[in-house]
């Protein structure tokens, strides 16, 4: 999953990454095929280099800021995204729906939530403002729901041109990468569509882990498995994450 996500990132771009798999995938991309990818973190950090074995736990700490050519304020970093400088927004998802809307706020009614989740942090801003949004998340039935309980981070909202009509000025989610598959959004309906499978996974496997009617691309291909160097780098960066993949 991390390796597949890293391969989406092209060189000479700026990626606004959250901690966890998005950051790991960004660091991997820099080491493998995108040396001039600029990592941007919400803690006011532009262009840091991560140290193997010392990955940050949050995007607001010294580990996240090593060798960064620029440290500024949180607000200023998000304003770079609003201006349009940041190509990729890279997010995880607690709950995602068929149109790529993400919920990290509440399960159940807002007034008296059944589960009060941590909240948006910068996720809403990344989803609202970065040119293109990539989502990486484990493919589980409880995560892939028909409608999220609450739209924390806007995807394609109700589908079609709903996102544009809401006034959002960027494209929104283009790709969802999971441990089972790679999915895009069908251009008209903006519904999630299966494009490619992780090695050894079937279309039925993906359907069984998806809580809505899944569109399937006419030509579903298989994703390249991770290469040995990918796994070596991940293992060196963060033993825990490499084991998960």
């Amino acid at each position: 999953m991390t390796v597949s996500a890293s391969r989406l990132l092209r060189d000479h771009r700026a990626v606004f990454a959250g901690v966890g798999v998005p950051l790991l995938a960004s660091v991997l991309a820099k080491q493998r095929h995108a040396p001039d990818l600029t990592i941007v973190l919400e803690g006011g950090i532009i262009g840091p280099r991560m140290l193997a074995g010392k990955l940050p736990i949050s995007t607001n700490e010294m580990r996240a800021a090593r060798h960064a050519p620029m440290l500024t304020s949180i607000t200023d970093v998000f304003l770079l995204a609003q201006r349009g400088f940041l190509h990729y927004g890279f997010l995880g998802a607690a709950q995602i729906d068929m149109h790529g809307n993400i919920n990290t706020s509440v399960i159940g009614p807002v007034e008296r939530p059944r589960v009060r989740l941590p909240g948006t942090g910068g996720a809403n801003d990344i989803a609202s403002l970065c040119n293109e949004v990539l989502v990486v998340t484990p493919h589980e039935l409880r995560r892939f729901v028909e409608r999220v309980d609450f739209v924390t981070s806007p995807g394609h909202l109700g589908g079609g041109d709903a996102r544009e009509k809401a006034g959002l000025v960027s494209r929104g989610p283009s790709t969802v990468v999971t441990d089972l598959a790679l999915l895009d959004f069908e251009p008209e309906s903006r519904r999630m569509r299966l494009c490619a499978l992780q090695p050894g996974v079937t279309v039925e496997d993906v359907r069984a882990s998806t809580g809505f009617e899944l569109l399937v691309h006419p030509e579903v291909c298989e994703l390249e498995p991770p290469a040995i160097p990918d796994l070596d780098i991940l293992r060196e960066l963060d033993a825990g994450a490499a084991a998960r993949d």
Binding site: S58, M62, T75
Partner: protein
Amino acid sequence: MDGTPARQLREALAGKPSPPADKLMPAEAAVRLVRDGDHIAVGGTLYSRTPMALLFELLRQGRSGLTISRPLTCYEAELFLVGGLAGGIVTSWVGIGLPWGISRVVRELVEGGRATYEEWSHLALGLRYKAGAMGVPFLPTFTMLGSDLVGLVDTRELTCPFTGEKVLLVPALNPDVALLHVHRADRSGNAQIDGYRHMDADMAAAARTVIVSTEEVVDAERIAGRPDATVLPHFQVDAVVEAPMGAFPHECYGRYEADFAHFDDYVADVRRDGIDAVSAYLDRHVRRQPDFAAFLASFGASRLEGQQARAAELIAR
């Protein structure tokens, strides 16, 4: 001070000490500037450059009816809610960090209707402080549009009179008091921050009263030797408190790393005893300590020096 007209906000600054007076005072005196019912903006973010020495003093003194705002809140928010000082938080995120899971304390209080969590996007909250800092009543943005966050908080959509685009207006946030921790300040309040600045400068400019704790108090000449690092001019600042390691157990860029083991212990206690663990933490680390220096001393010198050594390694070029 939500929705206060600009003239009134400007008049509220009249009481500030405008000549470069000596504002150095103990935390105990500085924190007395906080009144019951105040909106407190807490500087830094998550576990970085939190004004912990000031917060602990405030927790020791006690207040009621406070509202706490912060870009991302860490466990200090739990101390204020459980300690009975604050009934609500205004933020974009609560917790400590991914390894420690969702905040059980905030969950229990908010799900039980005993505390409020007003959720803004990270940038929207930043723009609220920025509008407050700019002396204007709102700022337009494209963030948060279309999301359900818009329905929870006080925003307005407007068609831009110049381009015809839809924009979201977020209202200025002018806190009653901003509590900040900085790397160095002189006695009059000229204050410098190293590394990332979080939202501190905007909070300070927006607030009516600004209390600054500092790793070290330095001569005015030393501040003037690096004027580009100065983030707050003296006339914004009402009180200066000398507090070495004053953000601990959180980090201060280049000075000391956050004490993750302390978070582990805290979260383990909360998992075992629930909200009672937060009260126990307040008793042990705040109320039974005469001051912040005593809290620091309880960790032992070698542990504190270890945190400092790790910071030096992390910012080494």
